[in-house]
């Protein structure tokens, strides 16, 4: 069912809150992987506030949908989502990265409630996701598995090995997102190690590839709806901007990891507010 205008606006509002919480967490921690956190916040928002079949009061529910954040360094975005959802106390975000905190840069599935896999070593998520999807078949469960990878991360061969597994077993109970923000640590992906033609690569590996604007909630939701109905494994290639919503960070690879002081914090807050207004205007224009 297509997204209604009210739903869309509600998701925009939630994404806006979560972007702010990600910024706050980065500020409290002093620094963080905010660039790649912001680029995937819309994806995290629709998953946790529209699609994932999970239970607040039963995080280990065996039939829950699974979500594997393969780009584990986006913990600075994922922790706020998990706290805001209610799995963990929001106060914990204030000690993010501090000594002995339960939450460090990469979230530990044995310490942070709601994390389905401890990631951080890139290229591990998609094989694990293939595993949870395969297990659903064996155990005759109807849950879905969602996986989110970075784009630089796709340099790791393990992703392509997993892609073969997903195609071979036709794991259509797995939906893969790629956060195509075009940047990694040392620069633009096409300068460091060419990925293009990326959609063609995934197509040739057997995925049904959907290219969307990863900062457009409606397009993202349409793609997930499509994937849920698809007889084949779908990969959603989400074109995003690293640091989305904060002007000086946008598409700037140097903001892969950065420090936020008081002055920057105020600037970022203002940017996020403006960004939100623009996004709401877009909904007003485009929603039916």
């Amino acid at each position: 069912m297509s997204l209604t205008k009210d739903e869309w606006l509600a998701l925009e509002k939630k994404a806006h809150e979560l972007r702010n919480l990600c910024l706050d967490t980065t500020y409290w921690a002093g620094s963080g992987h905010i660039g790649g956190g912001m680029s995937c916040m819309d994806i995290l928002t629709i998953l946790y506030h529209k699609y994932l079949n999970i239970k607040k009061d039963d995080p280990d529910w065996a039939d829950r949908d699974r979500f594997i954040l393969s780009k584990g360094h986006a913990g600075i975005a994922y922790a706020p989502v998990l706290c805001d959802y209610g799995y963990n106390d929001k106060e914990q975000l204030k000690t993010f990265n501090l000594t002995n905190s339960k939450m460090g840069i990469h979230l530990d599935s044995n310490k942070v409630v709601g994390v389905d896999a401890s990631t951080g070593s890139l290229g591990h998520g998609l094989p694990i996701a293939a595993g949870t999807a395969l297990a659903a078949r064996v155990l005759k469960k109807s849950y879905m598995t969602y996986c989110l990878t970075g784009d630089g991360e796709l340099d790791e061969g393990s992703n392509w090995e997993a892609a073969m597994t997903i195609n071979h077993y036709n794991l259509n109970n797995l939906i893969t997102f790629v956060d195509r923000n075009h940047n990694m640590i040392d620069g633009n992906t096409e300068d460091v190690m060419k990925l293009e033609p990326l959609a063609d690569k995934f197509t040739s590996f057997g995925f049904d590839v959907k290219k969307v604007d990863g900062q457009n909630i409606k397009e993202l939701c349409d793609a997930v709806d499509y994937a849920l109905a698809s007889p084949r494994p779908v990969l959603i290639l989400a074109d995003t901007a690293k640091g989305a919503g904060i002007k000086m960070m946008e598409n700037n690879y140097k903001w892969h990891y950065g420090a936020i002081d008081d002055k920057l914090y105020e600037e970022c807050k203002k940017d996020l507010e403006e960004y939100y207004q623009k996004r709401v205007e877009r909904v007003e224009r485009e929603a039916k």
Partner: protein
């Protein structure tokens, strides 16, 4: 063994350990055109990017593909280049263990792995980024020399020595700044030779990496507070291990504490224990390090303190071993 230019104490406080590496590699690059450098999207983080700036044509960023990088390096080495490759220690030793084992060590090619963010030095990143088993893995690889420098100056020495040695070398260095152990590079660094940092006859602390500085501090404290004479050895080379220094410590001091930013299984403590057991000479002995657990997250110095591998932890361990009932005579026959 001084480098091309001599680093001063001022630079020690201004340059991170990895910057010593990057600068030394660039110096070596000027001297030796066959040196090439490779990384996997970590040019800046590992400081191999300093070489890249000067020699862009001899630098290769393979993207986030460490296994591929090790294979490519093996190929380049087979053809006559001397590759230096850098990524985080946890990936160099584990993600690429097969390539390290088969492509580099088995073929015995002349490649140098300079692995950064060693031990728990990338503390806040958690266990996915802590290298706590790399000694165990790399020590067990035939042909591989394994070095863990104590600070920036020693890193510069080790990198130069690694170039001069023909064969594969694994050097693990920390993220960020190390406490300065050496103000001057001319203290006689030699691969496979422990450096005595403090004389002592009561007990020996054998330390490696960032723990060496902590051990020296502990020895100074114990001398003043307890009147103990603690020998401190900086065991910068894990393999080949300086067996003579270990045997001498056993015979001279009869008590040993090892300390490392690594699991106590398979690392420095194990290496020392192997020498001790084969010598047939029991001795008061404790291994400090991760007690077969994953580390908490936090700042490196905080983690070191929580693990008891900082000076306070070493002081406590020394007192504990000193307090143990242990014969001081030379008659080994009457001991269990």
């Amino acid at each position: 063994m001084a480098g091309g230019f001599v680093y001063t104490a001022v630079e020690s406080t201004e340059m991170s350990t990895a910057e010593y590496y990057g600068n030394t590699l660039a110096e070596l690059g000027r001297e030796h055109p066959e040196i090439v450098a490779l990384t996997a999207d970590l040019a800046n983080s590992t400081k191999i990017g300093i070489f890249q700036k000067e020699f862009p044509d001899r630098f290769f960023n393979v993207g986030i593909a460490e296994q591929n990088m090790f294979g490519v390096a093996a190929g380049m080495a087979k053809a006559g280049c001397v590759p230096f490759l850098s990524t985080f220690s946890v990936f160099a030793s584990l993600r690429c263990a097969d390539q390290l084992h088969t492509d580099i060590c088995y073929q015995n090619v002349n490649a140098k792995i300079i692995a950064t963010h060693a031990g728990t030095s990338f503390g806040q990143a958690g266990s996915t980024h802590h290298a706590i088993v790399d000694f165990a893995v790399t020590r067990a690889m035939p042909n591989l020399t394994v070095i863990c420098p104590a600070d920036g100056v020693e890193t510069a020495n080790a990198v130069r020595a690694a170039y001069e040695l023909n064969g594969p070398v694994y050097i693990r260095i920390n993220r960020g700044f190390d406490r300065v152990l050496y103000a001057d590079p001319d203290y006689g660094f030699e691969i496979g030779k422990a450096v005595e940092l403090h004389e002592g006859t009561d007990i020996t602390v054998i330390a490696t990496g960032s723990c060496a500085f902590q051990a020296l501090q502990a020895a100074n404290f114990l001398e003043n507070a307890d009147g103990l004479k603690v020998r401190v050895l900086n065991m910068h080379t894990l393999k080949p291990l300086d067996k003579d220094a270990v045997l001498k410590a056993i015979m001279d001091t009869r008590r040993i504490v090892t300390v490392e930013d690594h699991n106590i299984i398979g690392g420095l403590g194990s290496a020392v224990a192997e020498v001790m057991a084969e010598a047939g000479k029991g001795c008061g002995f404790t291994r400090l390090g991760l007690k077969d657990t994953f580390a908490p997250i936090g700042l490196h110095e905080d983690i070191m303190s929580m693990l008891g591998i900082d000076s306070n932890g070493i002081i406590a361990a020394v007192r504990d071993v000193m307090g143990k009932d242990f014969e001081l005579d030379d008659n080994w026959d009457d001991e269990v």
